[in-house]
């Protein structure tokens, strides 16, 4: 870790002048000297503010710039692209160095693509609407609700394995469709990562409430977000080193506090 910090300090001190031969990322990025970061289309609050990642506002945007800085890449040399989930996992050349869209790290995904070490541990939260908002935060009560979730997220196995609802859940393509289904009264509750649930509850769905959360740490399969990279990416070690030193220095926690601070105060679900 010390050498790492030293490298970082050196890179910082020397700035662009030193970028001649020592930085870890050299020769490993898509465009020499630049870091290409992919986000969703659109990118959602609080991960990226106003769908404008280049502003550095929002949790993932801020982490991307912090990692780039840690690697010795100037903010101006960070470029953004947009991809869908399918584009991120398709075989063949990628158009990004790292892809940040709240991708949960799983062993099965790890076989097909590379993930950085986690930059956020997400708790799963239950967002309820209508009469269901008064449901107690207990598994036995939650089972009886009509459930929905985004089909492409790890909320689906969590829902089916942990909550195991009595009626078959309905699955949707994205957050907006789940929102529409809640407003149409077709589902009582949906499972999201906590920050997304907070946003939807506060801004998108009138009369909705977060009735409980599954803590990230205690669950058997913790939901941790990692930056997605091409399988066998040479850049992984640089990104991991940068994340490790950001964790060490407390910078990552700082960013988390800045953008995701109000994610507490939601009751835990009793098993």
């Amino acid at each position: 870790m010390k050498t790492l910090l030293l490298t970082t300090v050196l890179t910082f001190a020397a700035g662009a002048a030193l970028a001649g031969g020592h930085a870890c990322y050299e020769g490993k990025t898509l465009t020499e000297g630049k870091l290409t970061v992919a986000t969703g289309n659109p990118a959602y609050y609080p991960w990226v503010m106003d769908d404008n990642p280049a502003s550095g506002m929002g949790f993932e945007a801020a982490v991307a710039y912090a990692v780039a800085e840690e690697m010795g890449i100037a903010a101006d040399d960070v470029t953004w692209v947009r991809t869908s989930f399918d584009e991120a996992i398709q075989p063949g050349a990628k158009n990004f160095d790292v892809n940040m869209q709240q991708y949960s790290i799983t062993a099965e995904r790890e076989e097909m693509v590379d993930f950085s070490s986690p930059y956020y541990s997400a708790a799963m939260a239950v967002l309820a609407v209508g009469d269901a908002t008064s449901t107690p935060a207990e598994l036995s009560a939650l089972k009886e609700l009509k459930w929905g979730a985004v089909g492409s997220t790890t909320a689906v196995p969590k829902l089916i394995e942990t909550i195991a609802p009595t009626s078959q859940p309905l699955l949707y393509g994205d957050n907006a469709d789940v929102t529409a289904a809640m407003q149409a009264g077709q589902i009582d509750a949906a499972l999201f990562d906590l920050p997304t649930a907070l946003f939807l509850s506060a801004v998108m769905i009138e009369g909705s409430k977060i009735i409980g959360q599954f803590p990230a740490a205690s669950s058997e399969t913790p939901d941790q977000f990692g930056m997605l990279m091409e399988e066998g990416s040479a850049l992984k070690e640089c990104v991991d080193a940068a994340l490790a030193s950001l964790t060490e220095s407390g910078k990552l926690a700082e960013i988390e506090a800045q953008w995701l601070q109000d994610t507490t105060g939601v009751p835990l679900i009793a098993e």
């Binding site: 996992i89 075989p91 693509v113 492409s152 859940p169 699955l171 469709d177 289904a181």
Partner: protein, 271 residues
């Protein structure tokens, strides 16, 4: 019966062309099988599209989800046939008093043939339940089915109308000269001929409907397409889509062959 020299010559020609067709098909297949794996990205493509272990794990789940497709198809098809016929008959009314029916029929087919199915599914599937219908009347199964029926009956109506128009006007005249009422003419003279003529074309609509049932996945039901998408996301692997494609083909290829057979039989009868 002894064969003429001409027949013998023609048989020889036929055998020769069969042989050439066989050899050329074989050569093309061999080229594909040998050349495609030589492509530099083949290994990655094989791992993410033709992954045997992923296939084994997901295929049973896909078959189970396909039952939903069959269910939705089974209750939609008769409704589409009936509504399609009614619309076709509306467009054929000759009494001036009933002219508004003709306008309605024309507008109906114009609108629902002009809209992409997915848009209709979205607008009706989320829109109408959003008006505040209580459960279970806001079910996506109900309104998704309504969307499919509206769209497909517009196409089916046009095919029926084509069939009705194809019956020569002299038949109408003959029936009326025998004293049949307008209604009986349609029922006993025109429709039996018209429907028989359009059956092969309607078979094609059934095949298309069978595939478009998958569009209901956008509003919640977990049919085969959504289930494959869930597996795809969890494993970052496209093999479940290949599995789903195989299941679709197992149904649609026999159906297509049957429709072709009906058509060629009809062509022979006419000639």
């Amino acid at each position: 019966m002894s064969r003429t020299r001409r027949q013998i010559y023609e048989d020889k020609l036929r055998r020769r062309s069969l042989l050439i067709a066989g050899a050329s098909s074989l050569a093309v297949f061999a080229a594909v099988i040998i050349l495609v794996p030589l492509a530099p990205g083949w290994e990655k493509v094989a791992k993410s599209f033709f992954n045997w272990s992923v296939f084994q794990r997901t295929f049973p789940g896909l078959i189970e989800a396909f039952l939903q497709n069959i269910m939705i198809f089974a209750w939609s098809a008769p409704m589409i046939a009936i509504l399609g016929l009614i619309i076709a008959l509306m467009r054929d009314v000759r009494s001036p008093v009933l002219f508004p029916l003709r306008i309605f029929g024309a507008a109906y087919t114009d609108i629902f043939r002009g809209l992409p199915v997915i848009l209709t599914v979205y607008l009706i599937g989320f829109g109408i339940p959003g008006l505040g219908l209580p459960r279970p009347w806001n079910s996506p199964y109900i309104w998704g089915t309504v969307a499919l029926v509206l769209t497909y009956s517009a196409y089916v109506a046009e095919i029926f109308r084509g069939g009705i128009d194809s019956v020569h006007t002299s038949q109408r005249a003959a029936a009326q000269s025998l004293g049949l009422s307008e209604r009986d003419t349609m029922r006993y003279v025109i429709l039996p001929q018209a429907i028989r003529r359009v059956i092969p074309a309607q078979m094609n609509m059934l095949i298309a409907l069978q595939k478009d049932v998958a569009l209901l996945s956008f509003i919640g039901p977990v049919e085969i397409f959504r289930q494959a998408g869930v597996f795809k996301s969890l494993m970052a692997n496209f093999t479940p889509y290949v599995g789903a494609a195989m299941i679709f083909l197992a149904v649609t290829i026999p159906a297509t062959r049957y429709a072709d057979y009906l058509m060629s039989r009809q062509a022979k009868e006419r000639s």
